[in-house]
């Protein structure tokens, strides 16, 4: 009993001070972080105030974007409507730079002013600009659509009266992506600012990793946007009151759908018996991330073949999609994987976390016989190993440490890093694969494409696009030229599944030597000109122009581990409008790409311009212009020009948002320390005092 007493007494006494200590420690460790959490939640709601050169706040017209897509099989017809509301009491001009999917064939412009609809016409770029300028000065309502880059466009709408709304509708055609039975569409909604390296490039000299940076040029041939206006997009924080987007999609797949997914936006789906109708749940979403939709039709068991035709006065146009037989056995050649990762400033925030996760995933897939290295680049580049090393446990754990320490900062000097990757010594018995992880926020795409063409050798280049708004056009093109594939990862939750898909492509045999043979007498003009190699799950998509309609059988052959051939009856072709435009868009893309292999600007222009005019497409040399001949703005009223900002891509840290924490805990440490010492001293004094009185 007494023993027990003796034990419990002090324990009860002790518990109190320990609890107090524990409480102080808790306070100490949680107080700052609780505040930091509160901060995080508030982030994103503010706005970046822009002021014009006279210090006045910019009252840019309010913009609503409405996207309507009609998907029919593998072709999507899309109409993008941009409504410019002028809420000020002055006459304004709205300027808006916006992205469209890569390889979209832009062929329509309609301007709606009140009840009137003015249909735009295709003109040579300079002429279109001149018509627009003239109308602008005469006070007529006018709009023009220019192409800045293959996936970056720009509208200008002049003379929007006070309180008036002008709607501009831009129409384009697009081929739906297909991969292993899954169809997908992507609609870019904003732009990640591109980095333009301060380089000088002489197209005559071959590039090496030793090429002095000063010897390489900022000027991208054929890019005259500098003459029309600045290219750098302006960004503002998401503000649905100023800018919003709504999307409606009608999918006609011919059969009902097994499932339909929108990974980045909540959607509402109404199933129909031949497809589905989809719309954004929030019809006033801020356009701060790209929209993606993918769907899987119920498979009917038939081999997937789609064959469409559209005759016009230029000839017969054919669009063929065919899913080749799949080889399921993985390749046994050891691989040599060079991971190249972008750690530039534009990757700050969510993007770098995705990149790190994707890299970790890629490292895990390596077998001991494989070799690998990791190169990171921002303003400079650095390779983890001087040359690829075997994927031993030690090397892998070193790489994992390296990857987990990657941070985003500085410029995007992609070219030297790419050259370094491509010029690593090659080994005979390894299959070289370069996995390039980036948001590709670069403006020097042509130089990079040239480098890939010149230096690729037997390697294959796989691009992985990261972030809310990567430059898909460049990444897709680079992968095509690099005989690899393009993978888009839009959120951290997708890293696992998308990297697994990529791994399947990396480790499965490639479908090569794809050949089409037409009935005798038919001479096809393919666009793209060559059918590249295909990876597991990818369909063959071919657009061709024939002189006249063809009858008979088309045979397709190819080779994986063995050879195969398929016959397709041309009589089964279905008429479909848009096939001609899609062919022409691909053809123009091909012709533009010859720039990188040294074709002169003049000769490209000479072949692209007539094609774009014949097929009524917006291109580097042609623009759509619409003018309402009715004069609107009275003489003497001033016209103010306003640039409409693009919404900052979600996850991109912007300085105002990423305000760093700038206080150390030193003061708190000192305060707590001092308090505790005083308390200890006081207690000690009291204890001694008690002891003394007890002794007395």
């Amino acid at each position: 009993m007494q023993r027990k007493n003796a034990g419990s007494g002090p324990q009860a006494k002790v518990r109190q001070p320990v609890a107090v200590l524990f409480f102080i420690w808790l306070l100490h460790s949680f107080a700052p972080s609780a505040q930091a959490q509160a901060l995080d939640q508030d982030i994103g709601s503010g706005s970046l105030t822009l002021r014009d050169d006279r210090g006045l706040a910019i009252d840019a017209p309010r913009m609503e974007t409405a996207v309507r897509m009609n998907v029919s099989g593998i072709v999507a017809r899309v109409e993008v409507s941009q409504r410019f509301h002028n809420e000020s009491d002055a006459w304004v001009e709205g300027l808006y730079a916006f992205p469209l999917p890569e390889n979209s064939a832009v062929d329509t412009l309609r301007m709606k002013v009140g009840e009137r609809i003015i249909v735009g016409e295709i003109r040579e770029k300079e002429q279109a600009q001149k018509i627009f300028e003239q109308a602008r000065q005469q006070g007529q309502r006018a709009s023009v659509v220019h192409q800045q880059r293959p996936n970056l466009f720009r509208t200008a709408v002049a003379n929007i009266g006070p309180g008036e709304t002008i709607e501009v509708v831009i129409g384009y055609l697009q081929i739906v992506e297909q991969n292993a039975g899954r169809y997908s569409l992507r609609f870019p909604l904003t732009i990640t600012p591109r980095y333009f390296p301060g380089l000088q490039l002489d197209p005559e000299t071959p590039l090496t990793s030793e090429t002095a940076i000063a010897a390489l040029t900022l000027a991208v041939p054929g890019d005259d946007t500098a003459a029309i206006g600045d290219l750098h997009p302006r960004l503002a924080h998401a503000n649905p009151q100023r800018q919003s987007v709504s999307i409606e999609i009608d999918i006609d797949a011919g059969v009902s759908l097994k499932h339909i997914v929108s990974p980045y936006h909540p959607i509402v789906v109404a199933a129909t018996d031949h497809g589905a109708q989809v719309e954004l749940r929030d019809q006033q979403s801020p356009p701060d991330r790209d929209f993606e939709l993918s769907w899987v039709p119920i498979v009917s068991g038939e081999p997937a073949v789609a064959l469409f035709r559209e005759p016009n006065d230029q000839g017969e146009h054919v669009l063929l999609m065919f899913m080749p037989p799949q080889e399921s056995r993985p390749i046994d050649t050891p691989r040599e994987v060079i991971f190249v990762v972008d750690t530039s400033g534009s990757m700050t925030g969510e993007s770098i976390r995705q990149a790190r996760a994707a890299l970790m995933n890629g490292l895990r897939t390596l077998q001991p016989a494989d070799r690998f290295t990791v190169i990171q680049f921002n303003s400079y580049h650095e390779s983890l190993f001087a040359k690829p090393v075997f994927a031993s446990e030690e090397n892998l754990s070193r790489a994992q440490r390296y990857v987990s320490n990657l941070r985003a900062t500085g410029g995007t000097e992609m070219l030297p890093a790419l050259l370094a990757a491509l010029s690593m010594p090659e080994s005979e018995e390894h299959l070289r694969q370069v996995v390039f992880i980036t948001d590709a926020a670069v403006g020097n795409e042509d130089q990079l494409m040239l480098a890939i063409r010149q230096r690729l050798g037997s390697a294959r280049l796989f691009t992985v696009g990261i972030g809310s708004a990567p430059n898909g056009h460049f990444l897709r093109n680079a992968a095509r030229t690099g005989r690899g594939t393009f993978t888009y990862i839009g959120s951290i939750g997708e890293v696992e599944s998308k990297m697994t898909d990529l791994l399947k492509k990396l480790t499965h045999p490639v479908l090569t030597d794809i050949e089409l043979s037409w009935p005798a007498g038919v001479v096809p003009e393919y666009a793209p000109a060559s059918i590249g190699d295909l990876y597991a799950g990818e369909p063959i998509v071919v657009a061709a122009r024939l002189q006249s309609s063809a009858k008979g059988m088309l045979s397709i052959s190819g080779r994986t581990n063995g050879a195969w051939t398929r016959q397709i009856a041309l009589a089964g072709m279905q008429p479909r409008t848009g096939v001609a435009s899609l062919w022409a868009r691909n053809r123009i893309g091909d012709l533009m790409d010859t720039r990188a292999s040294g074709t002169t600007e003049d000769s490209i222009r000479a072949s692209v311009l007539p094609l774009a005019l014949q097929y009524q497409l917006v291109s580097n040399y042609t623009s759509l212009v619409a003018v309402d001949r009715t004069p609107a703005r009275p003489d003497g009223e001033e016209l103010r020009s306003r640039r409409i900002s693009n919404t900052k891509p979600n996850g991109l840290d912007w300085p105002a948002e990423g305000i760093p924490s700038t206080a150390t805990s030193a003061q708190l440490n000192f305060a707590i320390g001092a308090l505790l010492l005083i308390a200890a001293l006081g207690w000690q004094f009291r204890a001694r005092h008690l002891q003394r009185s007890q002794q007395l």
Binding site: G46, T348, Y380, T662
Partner: protein, 208 residues
């Protein structure tokens, strides 16, 4: 029995007092460590900076560092000299003020530098409009800035305001109030300096 009990009790009391005292010493030590690290890092960075001026790039001040100096900052009237690091992550800010990612390079637009209010950027408190700041960038060029205004923002509701395409400015950012005890508050002190032409007085001898 009674004696034994009171001894145990006294021992417990003493141990608790000792523990509290030790914890207090450790806290003060941690605070001192932060200041010592801030001071010592700047000394180590000085030699990395010399090598940077000689043409090397991304010179890490110590082998395991993951940042590097990109500029030298002097507050002439305050007698302050600091090396600015390439980023403003929490890790780097312990060693010196950092360049906030995504803002312009020095002399090319609005550059934002962030620093700790109680170590490197404590001098901002005494910086007055009109005071001069001098900077040297990695290419050896020298820049002269003059403080034009200071204000306090609440980072929960306000953003830094950026004039588009303005001449070069330097925005120094630190936490506010300067002597708050608990870190992590929402207020930020913003000091804006504008580029001035003319010779810079970046002539102070490097640290003795």
């Amino acid at each position: 029995m009674n004696v034994a009990r009171s001894i145990t009790r006294r021992e417990w009391t003493r141990m608790t007092i000792l523990a509290i005292a030790a914890f207090g010493v450790w806290q003060i030590g941690s605070g001192a460590y932060i200041h010592a690290k801030a001071w010592l890092a700047q000394q180590l960075i000085a030699s990395a900076w010399t090598r940077t001026l000689e043409g090397e790039r991304q010179v890490k001040p110590w082998p395991w560092a993951d940042t590097w100096p990109i500029a030298r900052l002097q507050a002439i009237d305050q007698g302050v000299e600091l090396y600015v690091l390439a980023d403003a992550s929490g890790r780097s800010l312990a060693f010196g003020p950092g360049h906030v990612n995504g803002t312009a390079a020095i002399g090319e637009g609005n550059t934002v530098l962030a620093g700790h209010r109680d170590t490197h950027f404590a001098f901002l408190r005494s910086l007055q409009p009109g005071d001069e700041l001098a900077m040297q960038t990695a290419d050896g060029r020298k820049w002269r800035f003059q403080l034009s205004e200071t204000h306090v923002i609440d980072s929960r509701y306000q953003r830094l305001q950026f004039d588009e395409q303005v001449a070069a400015t330097l925005t120094l950012l630190t936490c506010y109030p300067f002597d708050a005890i608990v870190p992590g508050g929402p207020l930020r002190y913003v000091a804006i300096a504008e580029l001035r032409t003319g010779p810079t007085s970046l002539a102070m001898p490097t640290r003795p």
